[in-house]
Amino acid sequence: MSALPIADFHVVRAHARKKAREHRGMLLVMLSLYSLAAIAGLVAPLIIGKITTLATTHRLHDHEITVLVTQMLAASLLYTLFSFLARRRSYILGEKIFAELREEFLHSVLALPLVEVERAGTGDLLSRTTNDIEALARTVRFAVPEWLVAIIQAVLTLVAMVLVSPIVSLAGLVSLPVLFFSTRYYLKYATPGYLRERASYATLSGTVAETTEGARTVDAHRLAERQKKRVDGNLRESFYSEMYTLLMRMNWFPAVESAFSLSVAATLGWGGWLALNHDVSIGAATTIVLYVVQINDPLDRIIAWLDELQMGQSSFARLIGVSVVKDERPTFSVEPHNEVITVRDVRYAYREGYDVLHGVDLVITPGERLAIVGPSGAGKSTLGRLIAGIDAPRTGAVMVGNVPLAAMPLDMLRRHVALVTQEHHIFIGTVRENLALARPSATLPDVEAALEAVDAIDWVRALPDGVNTELGTTGFAITPAQAQQLALARLVLADPHTLVLDEATALLDPRAARHLERSLSAVLQGRTVVAIAHRLHTAHDADRVAVVMDGTIVELGGHDELLAKNGEYAALWRSWRNETTSAS
């Protein structure tokens, strides 16, 4: 299992900048609207200050009051209007960017090199597709806009303070060092805590999922008590990680809140002192105090969203990490001149120094049916993967018509050979969509012909909407055997000249498997078939049988030929149906 990469900080930053550049126009409009809103929001304290000055100098009259309050109202209306426009735009922009990000992510996922997909497994990708996208949703929709708004508000309030009275504003700065250092400390220790918290809830979901899906096993093996304890154990881990981040906040909050009231008290005292000495007007002092109280809110939001932003960044890094993987398939598009598959002195290792194939030679002629048998771990599946062109051998070559399979562009490879595994996946979508993925240009008659070929047309027609019935996790449920039939129908549509079947029917009930193999052999007449066989009747039907043991082909030949040879294969066959000969 090799994990998929996570983008580093520079890639993340470059990516974020690129996004910002792409939407420069919309961003600019949005930021301007937010600024206008923030400016309108600064008017009310100014007017209160004015009223205070007028009142203390006994120059306040009804006429001024009407004018000032009207101005205040107008400013509030503008504040509301601009806020509405700015927020609406920012949500729309957020949705747009978020949609782009997830689509770009899925695009990268769908372009992952075949070998990477086979190797990395789907667990990590799945969690990126669901958990990280969800985490990013919060960041893009709320954290980033809220944070930008807060910064604009804070900066503009600061500007207003300086414009009203630079000297009084000085006192408002006392909170900044406290905020800066306490927040830096907090973020350093809290963010890993939040990541641990998130992981602990994922584990909890996993335990509940396992318990629910494996209910029968839980019951049969009396595991209820144990699973209960596991849920409790997961909760304990969640609890401790929650308590850790809580304690971090319990250290941080008092510092932040005290810093805020310290700045209010300092401004009030300092501004009052200056006003007492007639260095500034009482109104200016009042306005600055109101501004300091007011600026605490955006400052609070700036620092409160930081941890969310940090976590969003880590999800973002995991999402764009997938796009860092480049398909290193060398692609020289030379069309092979025939369909003969040649395996020449092939060696392969998953770990350096541990070859699982030790020099395999094999020529597969077009139309041949070759069965590969042998014990588990002998290298059957690896050989199959190489013949299917998914990976290149360490040394030696696997070629079709003298063109190395692993060097073919994917589109071309698919026209030559396909690998069919025991995994049969039915996608969310109609029966037709499920089949047409193998050939997007397929017409309805093509699809029906493919279904007919695999003996599935009758039950498909009997579905509520026939070939247009929605299948998959959210649609109509079909049996595993039916799913396998659809998987075979896909192959009929894909129409490669060679098929590699790896345990394709092993997970099914053996009775169903035999039925499938019959329809398969009828359908795939004329194709080259390499079947990695679990069941020996597959071998019996094959033109040739390759017995693989410890990474080499120890026997190769027709069924009868190998029986006559009385070697490994013959021993196996006898034990499989020792009485058959007398019966048939």
């Binding site: 899925l106 308590m243 008290a265 009052g272 993925l437 092993a506 009930d509 019959r518 020996l536």
Partner: protein, 575 residues
């Protein structure tokens, strides 16, 4: 660092909830944690009041300190501002701690209840509710239940702050007092209608987003196929269509969301303007001091916070009710099989296990195979033998009905291993022996019998290796063999294995069949299978057609004499 003492979670016993209704459940939870709830309310009130009273101090500083030229008064009120700030910091921090605790108590208690119930009645649960929904309840719904308990302290604090502010205003100006006392609920009523369109469009987006997530997960799950035989562009287009749907559903939220937020700016601003106007005229009339006007302005602006909190409360309590109903829906499901009242003591020795309905008889010490025409028939029979269904009429142990014994005893002595047994995440050793200690020797014997030693060899750490969730890092064949090891190690008196070797290759299958018999000698084993490699190693094959045992003989004899049996075994006879 200062914290209040807290109770450790998870709870030893989550208790028995009031399951009559969603609100009943929430009330039950509240009762269970009334102490932390009350304490949180107390600090919530203190926190809100300190914020409100700050304005009194500022007003006094302006009036008595600056306007009346009293530097010492100014200093006094500045100190009061500091003290209020400290009170606010302390109350706010402790309130936060208690809110998190309240959230956790409600959430964790619900998780424990659901977790326990799923462990006990899982089979019945998945009959009614898809496994994905159960997981979603634990991942999301319980958090919503907890959410209401988080907000409540701030909500009550908000109400108290509003009343206190109103009375402070009333004591100086009846008009201003009434404006605020009545104005705030009036504003709240005005804000409420703004939330309706928002909720509707949010629900629409959540649904679209849920579908998108499912589509994404589905694409990833089938990625091998998409990359193997093509169709990426089709699936990418599907995803993009749904993604754009989510986006446009999100755009529809933009206006109501922005409306709600700007409404929360406008409505209090109107109140502020009214208060400022009345207050300024009072100054001219000589009934109000300038500093008092500043304080009134401050109070009214501050009341935005309680207003927001009230809105948050409405949202979170609505969600909590929905969450509570989801939790109760799971808890309401009763186990499929009812426990026996006054069970008999499990006998020391059982000579014959019998099913009178099918006529199947399994004698002690025998190694029998069950062959049926369809897999369903086999499962129906084995489910009855293992009492996985309620109706086990006719199943007897030495003539005593199976359901005369306790379910727990039955599970302990009769193990039915289904066709695709699950593995769970954990240390491999514990997963193979979930009920504890077997000797290393016994472990090796079982591994040998199930031909699973090679699985172990390939693992870093051998028996100490970690099994991933659902055992997904193993191949189907490896999973099946490990599950077989687990079944063998259970040492059940009667072991029923359903197609235990369907996913392994012929070499291995033959080996397992051979060794299984020796491993189980002296105990009783029934294998439901049609694999000739297994059948040739059993004492007797019982063939069931249309629910009845129609033949019982050795595999050899049946194969020789019965052509339909031969056909059944050899895929319909076209070999």
């Amino acid at each position: 660092m200062f914290t209040l003492p807290y109770r450790e979670l998870p709870l030893a016993d989550p208790g028995t909830p009031d399951a009559t209704s969603g609100s009943g459940y929430l009330r039950w939870l509240a009762k269970k944690q009334w102490k932390t709830l009350s304490a949180a309310v107390l600090f919530g009130v203190g926190w809100m009041l300190a914020q409100a009273l700050l304005w009194s101090a500022i007003g006094e500083a302006i009036d008595t300190g600056i306007n009346n030229h009293h530097p010492s008064r100014l200093l006094f009120w500045v100190l009061i501002v500091l003290v209020l700030g400290i009170v606010q910091a302390i109350c706010g921090t402790l309130r936060h701690q208690l809110s998190v605790e309240n959230w956790m108590y409600a959430t964790y208690r619900s998780v424990q209840l659901v977790g326990r119930h799923v462990a006990l009645a899982g089979l019945a649960v998945t009959d009614d509710i898809p496994a994905g929904d159960v997981v979603n309840t634990v991942a999301a719904d319980v958090m919503r239940v907890g959410g209401a308990f988080d907000v409540i302290a701030r909500f009550i604090g908000a109400i108290v702050a509003w009343i206190v502010v109103s009375f402070i205003l009333l004591s100086t100006s009846v008009t201003l007092g009434l404006v605020v006392l009545l104005g705030v609920p009036f504003l709240a009523l005005f804000t409420a209608p703004l939330m309706k369109p928002l909720h509707a469009s949010q629900a629409a987006q959540r649904e679209a987003a849920g579908r998108l997530a499912a589509l994404g997960a589905d694409t990833v799950a089938g990625l091998r196929i998409l990359r193997g035989i093509g169709g990426e562009s089709v699936f990418f287009d599907n995803y993009r269509v749904q993604s754009q749907r989510v986006r446009f559903a999100g755009n529809r939220i933009a206006a109501p969301q922005a409306g709600l937020e700007s409404g929360q700016i406008l409505l209090p601003a109107l109140l502020v303007a009214v208060v400022t106007y009345i207050g300024a005229r009072d100054i001219v009339a000589g009934t109000l001091q300038p500093g008092q006007l500043v304080a009134f302005f401050g109070y009214t602006s501050f009341l935005t916070t309680p207003l927001r909190t009230a809105i948050e409360w409405v949202i979170s309590s609505t969600r909590a009710l929905v969450g509570a109903r989801k939790v109760l829906a799971i808890l309401a499901i009763t186990p499929l099989v009812h426990e026996t009242k006054n069970p008999r003591v499990w006998p020391e020795h059982i000579s014959v296990y019998a099913d009178e309905v099918s006529g199947l008889r399994i004698e002690h010490g025998s190694f029998i195979a069950l062959v049926t025409e369809t897999p369903t028939e086999a499962t129906q029979l084995t489910d009855r033998l293992g009492r996985f269904v309620n109706d086990v009429h006719g199943v007897t142990l030495d003539g005593v009905p199976l359901d005369a014994y306790s379910l727990d005893d039955t599970r302990q002595h009769i193990l039915v291993s289904e066709i695709e047994p699950r593995l769970f995440s954990g240390i491999l050793r514990d997963e193979l022996m979930p009920h504890g200690v077997s000797s290393l020797e016994a472990m090796n014997e079982a591994l040998e019998a199930a031909s699973a030693l090679d699985v172990l060899d390939a693992l870093d750490g051998g028996l100490d290796a970690i099994v991933e969730e659902r055992g997904r890092s193993f191949s189907g064949g490896q999973r099946q063999r490990l599950a077989l090891v687990r079944a063998l190690l259970s040492k059940a008196d009667l072991l029923v294995l359903v197609e235990p070797t369907s996913a392994v290759d012929a070499h291995t299958e033959g080996r397992i069949a051979e060794r299984l018999r020796n491993y189980r000698s002296g105990r009783t084993t029934l294998v439901a299978t049609t694999s000739p490699l297994v059948l040739e190693h059993v004492d007797t094959v019982a063939v069931v057609r249309e629910g009845r045992v129609v033949a019982s003989n050795t595999h050899e004899a049946l194969f020789r004499e019965q052509s339909w049996y031969r056909n059944l075994i050899l895929r319909g006879g076209d070999a």
